[in-house]
Amino acid sequence: MIGSQAARRLRNQLLTLVAIVFAATALTFAVTEILPGDAAVAILGDTATEAEIKSLRTELGLDRPLIVRYADWLSNALTGDLGRSYRTREHISTMIAQRLPVTIELIIITQIIALGLAVPAGIIAAYRNRSGVDHALGGVSIGLLSTPAFVIGIGLIYTLSVALGWFPASGYVRPSDGVLGNLQSMFLPALTLALAEFPVYMRLLRADMIATLQQDFILVARAKGLGVRDILVGHALRPSSLSLVTVIGINLGRLVGGAVIIETLFAIPGIGQMLVNAVYQHDHFAIQGVVLVVATGFVLINLAVDMAYALLDPRVRHGVDS
């Protein structure tokens, strides 16, 4: 049931969405603007003369004021035209359309692995709170939190690829060239990112689960004689997953950030790698395009997370204050 309150909340959030995406793209435009050697210098190289740079700047429209260029870009972006790369003259929208699915696949596989590891681990750590298992899992997670993702990645490359030869050390296989090969080429980068996310998810679920397990309805379930598995998975997991769901949403931004490094490490042609290359090459429109996609995606995900609350917690669904 969607009441007027829910509708109002949805409308407010959509307005926030628009405001945030607008502000984020304006901010990127300003940040890329302070890049010292602009695109004209980057394209022509250090040997170009002043006149050559000047004429290319005019050709690319870089001599117009910042506000005009942003307004121009924004009105084009609203019609789906994100401009062309200064470098390759490719349409940014085409580049993103090619690369976004790769990053989305990477992130989905990452989330599956991360949750597949963290949910059971969190449940066990909460159920056996302060036991040896709990401390061991806590130790593993603090260790993983202390390691940068690219070092986890290098460690996995060394063990699973160089020493054991199970997975390719880098490179990407398109799904059209074989689904199995594609999954194999995605596994190490996804596992790397998943191991970096694992401690965050596990610790959150553990903390919420411990709180849930102290509530009366768990006592009731226990008194009814339900089995441990039924209580943990059937009764306690859903009310304990509120923070987890929020953080999964917030973490998507972090994951895209992680993907920037991991895609570079494993030579995966996603939008993270596109962004790094665009930054190296001062390709403003490419940077703008990626930021637009990431910011929009981030806000949409948060909207979805907010709606997921309603499914997880009846109090939110019925607009009752707890």
């Binding site: 926030t16 405001a19 945030i20 502000a23 984020a24 901010l27 990127t28 940040v31 890329t32 302070i34 890049l35 010292p36 709170n129 603090i142 260790g143 939190l145 202390s146 390691t147 940068p148 993702a149 690219f150 070092v151 290098i154 460690g155 490359i157 060394y158 160089v162 965050v200 610790r203 959150l204 903390a207 411990i210 709180a211 923070s243 929020t246 953080v247 917030i250 931004g253 972090r254 994951l255 895209v256 950030g257 992680g258 920037v260 490094i261 570079t264 490490l265 962004l275 790094v276 930054v279 190296y280 940077i287 930021v291 990431v294 910011a295 981030f298 806000v299």
Partner: protein, 285 residues
């Protein structure tokens, strides 16, 4: 990162027991700080001097942590890299703490439009995956210790602002604040003498954790070639430079990685300890 915002309540520490882990963590950090600060004085060799006849050597008496692919001493480079990591960590957390704390304090205390303005700006900033904003900032300002510190400091601001705001919201209507207001205390006094000290436990225990995050972020930038310029050593740069020799000389990659790991681990360990000290929720469990 997310669970920190819960540390609204402040409790007295129940008991102070010096755990072995905390002692080891402190010892490692003290050793690192001393070496990094006194490196040149106590005769650690020049990190840029390479012996091309002795490349990728395993740890020996002459090279305690081995050498890299240019024959440079890994121990010396790790020590000089620590200077970079520690400077960036302290500086960026300082920026986040000072700027974010101030903004959160103002937003939380005044509410209404200052709050909406500040928190709106923070939401926009949070929309950027932090590392992407840092990459953009460093690549525009140029790679140097100062710019890396600034870039990482900026991405820390929203989180500190949120913590300061959340805590200020719960403090501003407490009796001691009302008492100060009705006694006619001036605004700066209320903010700085009454509210700020009560924000410190939450902000500082978060700051400890963020020191580790800052070291990891600097390493990530270094790995992308966006931290200090070579040949100046940084931990991330050292790992990136030797990545190609992983099969023949894994130690050249994993020894600097281990130094960084131990440092961040020590910081996280202390962070957990501070969090336990201040987090009433964990204590009541």
């Amino acid at each position: 990162m997310a669970s920190i915002a819960d540390t609204t309540a402040i409790a007295r520490p129940r008991r102070r027991r010096l755990e072995l882990g905390i002692v080891l963590a402190l010892a490692w950090l003290v050793l690192l700080v001393v070496l990094a600060a006194l490196g040149p004085i106590i005769g650690i060799q020049n990190p840029d001097d390479g012996d091309l006849l002795d490349i990728l050597s395993l740890p020996t008496a002459a090279h305690w942590l081995g050498t890299d692919s240019l024959g440079r001493d890994t121990f010396a480079r790790a020590v000089y890299g620590a200077q970079v990591s520690l400077t960036v960590a302290l500086g960026s957390v300082g920026i986040g703490l000072a700027l974010g704390g101030t903004l959160g304090l103002i937003g939380g205390y005044f509410g209404r439009w200052p709050d909406r303005l500040i928190m709106g700006a923070m939401t926009v900033l949070l929309c950027f995956p932090g590392i992407i904003l840092a990459i953009a900032l460093v690549s525009s300002l140029g790679p140097s210790v100062g710019n890396v510190t600034f870039a990482i400091g900026v991405i820390f601001v929203p989180a500190f602002a949120r913590i300061a705001r959340a805590n200020t919201l719960s403090l501003r209507s407490r009796e001691f604040v009302l008492a100060a207001q009705s006694l006619g205390a001036k605004l700066p006094r209320i903010l700085i003498r009454e509210i700020l000290p009560n924000l410190m436990p939450a902000l500082l225990s978060y700051a400890v954790v963020m020191l580790g995050v800052a070291i990891l972020a600097e390493a990530a930038l270094g790995f992308l070639g966006l931290s200090v310029r070579p040949p100046q050593p940084s931990w991330g740069g050292m790992i990136a430079a030797e990545r190609g020799n992983l099969a023949e000389a894994p130690h050249a990659v994993f020894i600097p990685a281990a130094v960084m790991f131990l440092t961040v681990l020590a910081i996280n360990w202390l962070g957990e300890a501070t969090r336990r000290l201040f987090d009433i929720r964990a204590q009541s469990l």
